[in-house]
Symmetry: C3
Subunit: 200 residues, 3 copies
């Protein structure tokens, strides 16, 4: 199993846990928790697949997806997870998920015929629209659209770098790792220094 | 016309009426009422079709769908429907709809190549995500994700039984009727005894 | 470039500006503004394409779409736009967008195999569901479902006239212009005279 596959699994589980925790915040039951875990982890890729015409969408008939989601929901159900260590861990692994989902989303978009700029857009959608859908299911305004620390913006910057590097024919693995790291670093620096986009 | 077709029509009309009533609760106009009737009755099957890749989705070009929806909206517009008899009737026919939509959804999912466990998931989506979409259109948190009496859970149990029975090659009609009844019974018992899932 | 193409561009830019302004009202950042501009301008056509099975959806790989949306978001970012002249201008061009999007949506729906009545429904969806999606992203009840001056209804009337005229084989351009104008007039008269649909 490659490093990227391991990082993708870490990202998927983190997103699912984030979704289940969101369900808890909004006083849902375990079914709601499982739905929010699924939507947060796989919703972004689902929207990308629908827009580009890949059907069945990526997670249909995927057993692993189900294990990750149900496992994450059960984990959240069993543990309170308000320990400081958990929060810090999720904060880091969420940035990892952001990075790998963006780059993986761009590669899928390329394979489905997207032009470079739209591949980047699809990468950002893959990484961030799962959380957006989960927020909609909680009936709250999606946090990625509000004034927070750079979130979608870090995906956008990392995605543009990935497409630019690809043009210069750099080795696939090298450019992928660089851009995933770039997204992680931008995201973490932005939260530390409270860097935000201006209001519209 | 078979018993199952009749039950499906009853379920469709009930779901459409439920949607139109929800529109009234949220102070919409007749256009909003028709949209919510449509979304509640056909939204779940639409999501299933999109995820699995059946397009045009099931209701496109279907005249009957339009009659059911517009008829239900007009019916709600003309009658107050806050009579106790109506409420009891809808409570029963909603459970019927839940049962037939789940099993019909599973059969469509099988025909579109879903594995058993994902066919069950698609059945639950078919039966419950129309109401979820309608709730989103009303800007309220979807009731199926909250702590209510077993709703999606009864579809899940009935769906798993259907898939299990199918494996043992029981006659198609028999297993269908049994599982539809099972879902109806679980739902009604759950509301009577206030059986709920635990919070996440 | 034909008159209809010019009107379509005017409509697209107006819808995008409306979306960006909505983002400002709901205190989003510039990323949120761009997302709402995109969703308002292209969301309706996207839903139509998904329901009828045209994928990639209409705007994927379309550079112009990106320019319109980003340009509109930047424009809203730079200017306050609360001048009375702007508001009046947008009020008129929004009605223009409503007209051209409905008729263009019907023509696309016909080309994708919709029957006349469903083509009209798809036309209404094309013109109005972008704003509906944007409202959902703001976590407010979609305005087109509430009791406002005829909005979707004017699209519906104009769309039915278009399909009826088409049946009598009138010249394509003539019937298009007539129906676009009809929708604009109905919409403007309805807002002037406060004509509303009854509540459900």
């Amino acid at each position: 199993m490659s490093l990227l596959q391991i990082l993708t699994i870490i990202g998927t589980i983190t997103f699912a846990i984030t979704g289940a925790l969101k369900a808890r915040t909004h006083r849902m039951d375990v079914f709601g928790g499982a739905v929010l875990a699924f939507v947060t982890a796989y919703g972004g890729g689902t929207i990308r697949d629908l827009l580009l015409g890949k059907q069945p969408v990526n997670w249909v008939n995927d057993f692993l997806a189900l294990y990750f989601v149900v496992g994450s929901a059960v984990f959240v159900f069993l543990f309170k997870m308000n320990h400081v260590f958990f929060k810090r861990l999720i904060y880091i692994t969420d940035a990892v998920g952001l990075g790998v989902f963006t780059i993986a989303g761009i590669q899928v978009a390329f394979s489905l015929g997207a032009t470079p700029i739209y591949a980047v857009i699809m990468g950002v959608i893959t990484a961030t629209f799962g959380g957006l859908l989960a927020d909609i299911l909680c009936s709250v305004q999606p946090s990625i659209l509000r004034r927070g620390e750079l979130y979608a913006t870090s995906c956008l910057i990392g995605g543009i770098c990935f497409v630019a590097l690809k043009k210069y024919q750099l080795a696939n693995t090298a450019e992928t790792v660089i851009c995933v790291l770039l997204i992680i670093v931008i995201r973490i620096v932005a939260t530390r220094r409270q860097i935000k986009l201006p209001a519209i």
